[in-house]
């Protein structure tokens, strides 16, 4: 079976002066899937979206979106995509309704069809009441919803969302998530960038971690979690037991434990999948370390992210340091 890709990039390079925003970025998003691009500020997420949506020409490498080259066939790419950026890209002086009608006309809807499509999207995103107010008077969530509505006037084959829920209230965030899931169900390929690990975990089929303009790791949310193992945490009754407990965990996991004097806990990443909670407790007991609570749980995506991007950075030690007392 041949896989067709909604987004396929090879060795994308982009620099602004001395700043290398993209250093050989390879992305492959299978058609009809949701790809979550995670990375810290400055990792190159927004630049990648700008190159893939034809806003910025790459300095090197190539990319195809919906099967079209982003440089040579930019017009065909634009006809196939929807884009919602970090900053709501609507005209603040125009009302929500006027904005949607304008973009609909530019997408070749005839007069009546433009009006009808604008009205139904306003209703879909609960903007009917505010439809005739200037968009600059909208709250952040309303603007973002309007921006997403503008990206969905036609059904895009590939939808790009650049941090679509940054700073939003839970209601707006849920509406945007629901719209993304529904589009994905109907076959739209979605590439979304986010700093929220929960968002990627909730929406994405595949996660790409990018750091310093290149891919640090990729995989499904489950694979990524499995790759880093689990997280063992032990709570002791008094501070003097912290160091002995850390010694035992160090021996069991082979990774440097993190001490939290305030909470009297010691934690360590366990890459050995055969390690069990009873064994941890037994070893602690055998070493005479008093334990009042212990857990062995899958790491949060935050922990995955911190470790994997740090390793991708070339540093060998995990970014786990003793927390100050």
């Amino acid at each position: 079976m041949t896989t067709t890709y909604g987004v396929l990039s090879e060795g994308l390079e982009k620099h602004y002066g001395d700043v290398h925003a993209l250093r050989g970025l390879d992305l492959a998003v299978a058609e009809g899937t949701v790809c979550g691009v995670l990375g810290p500020n400055g990792a190159g997420k927004t630049t990648a979206v700008r190159v893939l949506t034809t806003l910025t020409a790459p300095d090197g490498g190539s990319a195809r979106v919906a099967g079209h080259d982003v440089v040579r066939e930019a017009g065909a790419v634009r006809a196939a995509i929807g884009v919602t950026g970090q900053n709501a890209s609507v005209d603040g002086e125009l009302s929500g309704r006027q904005n949607l009608r304008l973009f609909a006309k530019l997408l070749r809807f005839r007069g009546e069809a433009a009006r009808a499509r604008a009205d139904e999207l306003l209703e879909r995103f609960e903007l009917t009441e505010a439809a005739d107010r200037p968009a600059r008077t909208y709250s952040g969530g309303m603007r973002r919803r309007l921006d997403l509505a503008a990206s969905l006037l036609t059904r895009p084959r590939v939808l790009f969302l650049d941090e679509p829920t940054a700073g939003l209230d839970p209601h707006s965030r849920n509406q945007i998530w629901a719209a993304v899931r529904e589009l994905a169900d109907r076959g739209t390929t979605v590439l979304l960038t986010t700093q929220y690990l929960e968002e990627a975990d909730q929406l994405a089929d595949d996660i790409v971690l990018i750091d310093q303009g290149r891919v640090a790791h990729r995989g499904t949310p489950t694979e990524l979690k499995a790759r880093i193992g689990s997280y063992a945490e032990v709570v002791v009754p008094h501070e003097s037991a912290l160091v002995p407990a850390a010694g035992v965990l160090d021996q069991l996991t082979g990774t440097e434990p993190v001490l939290d004097h305030e909470r009297r806990t010691v934690g360590a990443v366990a890459t050995d999948t055969t390690l069990t909670l009873p064994r941890i407790v037994r070893e602690l007991d055998a070493a005479g370390v008093p334990v009042i609570d212990a857990s062995l749980r899958p790491p949060t995506l935050d922990e995955v992210f911190l470790r994997l991007t740090d390793r991708g950075d070339g540093r060998t030690s995990p970014p786990l340091k003793e927390t100050a007392a």
Binding site: A79, L107, R108, F109, R117, E120, E123
Partner: protein, 275 residues
């Protein structure tokens, strides 16, 4: 929750470009913006009237020219200054669009790239044509007259709008270069000085030599002299620099040069998103 598909969705966007429909849609957008916030437009259009009354009655009383005669000299000059005002307006609008992000959406739509600056400059042309009417009425009230033929008068209006169109393309390019509406606003205010260095408000004959040369090569001087000639208010000074001695040809030449340079530059700059 209802579905995004609903009933009026269109899945296919035709790949054929429709530059005229796109430019008309963009023109409509600018007119809607003016309707939503008419303050700026009213301010820019009433400014020349304020200046006519201020210069015509306050400063004019200190000039060698009799008041009535000076006001008749001033009206065509103010119309010429209005024509040059396209720099300020064009610069502000283009930089505002870049600054506020709406340009990014337009640049990801499968629309004609040239339609964005064309829509902006066409809207500016339309509002200028209407906005000149109050100034003309007040001008007539303070004693200015159209003394030439009706065809020549139409020619004067046509020339004024042509230069306005040209300067608004220059402004559009500058706005795409600046991409920051505060800076564009401040620079725009500074363009107030341009008509002061021309024959818009004062005759250039008495200026010191080098300043006279600068003023006469200012396109606003050619425009002012052309307007005065076509309205039958004054003949061009034969001893002036070429654009002022032949003001109609001079204004046409300035406009064509500005358009030939800044239309392609603006379209290209817009297509590349200011990079």
């Amino acid at each position: 929750m209802s579905s995004t598909a609903l009933t009026h969705e269109q899945t296919v966007t035709p790949a054929t470009s429709a530059p005229i429909a796109d430019a008309l849609a963009m023109l409509g957008r600018h007119l809607q913006r003016i309707k939503a916030a008419p303050g700026v437009m009213i301010l820019t259009q009433t400014m020349p009237i304020t200046m006519l009354l201020f210069f015509g009655y306050v400063f004019g009383s200190a000039l060698a020219m009799p008041g009535q005669e000076y006001r008749a000299f001033l009206v065509p000059g103010l119309l010429a200054a209005t024509a040059a005002n396209g720099i300020m307006v064009g610069m502000f609008q283009a930089s505002q669009d870049c600054h506020r992000g709406v340009m990014d959406r337009l640049r990801t739509l499968p629309m004609s790239r040239a339609a964005v600056p064309f829509g902006q400059t066409a809207a500016d042309l339309l509002t200028t044509a209407i906005g000149m009417i109050p100034l003309i009425l007040v001008g007539l009230a303070v004693g200015w007259r159209i003394e030439g033929g009706p065809l020549a008068a139409l020619g004067a209006f046509g020339l004024l709008l042509l230069l306005r169109f040209a300067t608004s393309w220059l402004g559009c390019w500058l706005g795409l270069l600046i991409r920051n509406e505060e800076i564009a606003g401040q620079l725009g205010s500074a363009t107030f000085i341009l008509p002061l260095l021309s024959s818009a408000y004062i005759p250039t004959d008495n200026l010191p030599g080098w300043l006279r040369t600068v003023a006469e090569w200012n396109p606003i001087s050619a425009m002012a002299s052309a307007t005065r000639e076509l309205f039958g208010n004054a003949s061009p000074a034969a001893d002036a620099a070429w654009p002022v001695a032949h003001p109609v040809a001079g204004t046409l030449a300035w406009s064509v040069v500005l358009l030939a340079v800044f239309v392609p530059l603006s379209v290209r700059r817009h297509a590349r998103g200011g990079e």
